[in-house]
Symmetry: C2
Subunit: 386 residues, 2 copies
């Protein structure tokens, strides 16, 4: 690894570690071109203008992005670490994303790989209110993985969805979430659906003496998100699902702050994660903005993430990071019952297993299939995985 | 071009053109695999579950995505057209994006290329309130391109930004916008900055008898966006800038609906447009959600879009599309004075030319440089471009 002083010797004397974000990018470039490309990236993600035209020394020294290190990954790919001023972010989740990757997301040769935050930034955002321990307590489910499934297809009326939910509950699943396609459509209005599903689940929970969480999918602008949370509360719910990249991360963060008693499940919709490294976007950033559990497309399902990427993502979601509570990783996207042992061997007990379509495919045997899924999870012997 | 009936003969008799969105994707696949891949894509973007497990015929026939056509682009790349039910979108901009590309944005082999909307969906969203004609009227600027520049670098205090704005105004520029990095930072709070810049511009406008629009960059959640719009109004402003992919498209759409008198400039930040075709995202969708002018990275600047892509984007922004007003294309991202004639020959008069850094690089000659930019635009002879 070699170090580069990005834009002149005036930076050398400045060290403001605590107020700097360190952002890691993966950049495709010829070795001869990487230094200049790294400096251009640092400028693009900070002042976005010719540095030579900046008169103000506090801007030149404190605000202009600084290339901290360049290290080769292979002959045409480099890891570039850039320091950005924490002061430019404030406490705005959208502004953080914009500073990390706003304009550079438009460049074909760059992937946003990782970020290290100063403690005050991490603390200001705050992360999950409940996280792994909180969700376990709500479900009285300790020492084993949690089970989760999805209500779908969209197009079904509230009554049909409630009937599905009831069967999943009879099967003993911990968490029932909406498919992210369920919004506030005319054929299945949010309020009506949520009331019907919640009632069906509560009936089974009371009768069978079980804890079940239902996470309805929120949609729309911040006003509608608030109305929907109020509606979920009215139905006795304590968990919701959000898609931060669709709703706007700042709105999700506000919703989290306003509802400290509500647990939040994050959906990866519109994550376009080929351009933002999945462990960063789904693992770290969604956690930072307050998701108690983050859904991601698992290896070997319908999406192309490698096992290594998924493990890294799970580590990012639940590993130690500043003082933020750990979030549950939720591997999903085409998971099946047959994979439960492998999934649990891979992820250990601090995981929510989400199987949707493969359970629904059982049709009339839905309760039995759900019971089998639940039994596999509850009966799994963990091999001392982390 | 050949046609594929995606998931069974029961679809053949169904034609619901008016209620279907037709979405075009570019999919990398082997010829032998494309039909199955197209069906999987249609399912992923609609019901996201095994179609065989769907009992309800209204869902199977009306909601499941339908492969309408597959046509080869080259031997391993196909254009796939999929029909999606308009009823799943409602009037929610976020849900529209989610239906178009929510989960599939996570797939490496797919690019979202285009969408055709039924008239009622286009009308419900509504597009720009002002568009090209409205902005021209505000500026009393007809038959020529508009000029625009950017306040930066971030890190400057309000007074320094106001001083820059004053010089741009003295130089005769039509629109001064914030750099998208200017948010609500402690060193330059939004309210203070906007008041200072607006006052400086109004002084020059009054003294020189000019029209100048200032578009401050909005940030944060919907509450903060509203506070910032109110603050801009208080300063006498009639234009704002938003980054829809950062703020959440539904919030931007709400802001547009609530402020029919405010013109809106859209910034491409976080557009990650390598995965969503730029003409669709910046040209059509940002216009659909109400942007009166859309900024995009122009060919030959700091970003890699081809001239062809940029022209297509400009056509999408200002060409006839349903009953929506045309939006101004704003080619940007490293433009220089020397390119003005070429830009105007390329885009014609219905364009806003945005030059930021290259003007700022003039330092003490900023007013003169701005005047020269303005003179080139005002004096250009248009060669009958569209």
């Amino acid at each position: 690894m070699f170090f580069v002083d990005g834009s002149g010797s005036e930076w050398a004397s400045e060290v403001r570690v605590a107020s700097r974000l360190t952002v890691t990018y993966r950049v495709r470039a010829e070795p001869a071109a990487i230094e200049a490309r790294a400096v251009a990236l640092a400028v693009e993600q900070s002042v976005e203008m010719p540095v030579s035209a900046i008169d103000d020394p506090s801007v030149r020294d404190g605000i202009v992005g600084r290339v901290e290190a360049i290290s080769p990954i292979d002959e045409a790919l480099f890891e570039v670490r850039i320091g950005l001023a924490g002061a430019t972010v404030g406490n705005d989740a959208g502004q953080l994303l914009s500073m990390l990757f706003g304009n550079s997301s438009l460049h074909d040769d760059v992937v946003l790989a990782d970020v290290e935050l100063p403690e005050e930034v991490a603390t200001a955002f705050g992360g999950p209110h409940h996280g792994i321990a909180g969700l376990r307590t709500r479900l009285s489910a300790f020492g084993r993985a949690l089970t989760c499934t999805a209500l779908k297809p969209q197009g079904l009326r509230p009554k049909a969805l409630a009937n599905l939910a009831k069967q999943f509950a009879e099967g003993g699943v911990d968490i029932v979430k909406d498919d992210h396609g369920l919004a506030d459509q005319a054929y299945s209005p949010f309020a009506e659906r949520v009331a019907a599903v919640a009632e069906a689940l509560q009936e089974v929970a009371a009768r069978r003496g079980r804890h079940i969480l239902y996470a309805p999918s929120l949609s729309g602008d911040l006003d509608r998100l608030r109305t929907q949370v109020a509606c979920a509360r009215k139905a006795g719910l304590t968990t919701v699902m959000v898609a931060p990249m669709v709703l706007g991360v700042a709105n999700v963060h506000t919703l989290v702050a306003e509802n400290p008693d509500i647990a939040v499940l994050a959906h990866p919709s519109l994550g376009g994660a080929a351009r933002i490294a999945p462990p960063l976007l789904f693992g770290k950033l969604f956690r930072l903005f307050g998701a108690d559990a983050v859904v991601f497309p698992n290896a070997g399902g319908r999406f192309g993430y490698s096992r290594e990427t998924c493990l890294e993502l799970a580590d990012a979601a639940r590993g130690p990071w500043q003082d933020l509570r750990p979030s549950f990783p939720v591997p999903a996207g085409g998971m099946t019952q047959a994979r439960v042992p492998e999934l649990l061997d891979t992820y250990g007990a601090d995981v929510v297993l989400l199987i949707g379509g493969a359970l629904l495919a059982a049709g009339p045997r839905l309760v039995a299939e759900t019971e089998a899924f639940v039994a596999r999870v509850h009966g799994h012997h963990y091999k001392g995985v982390p």
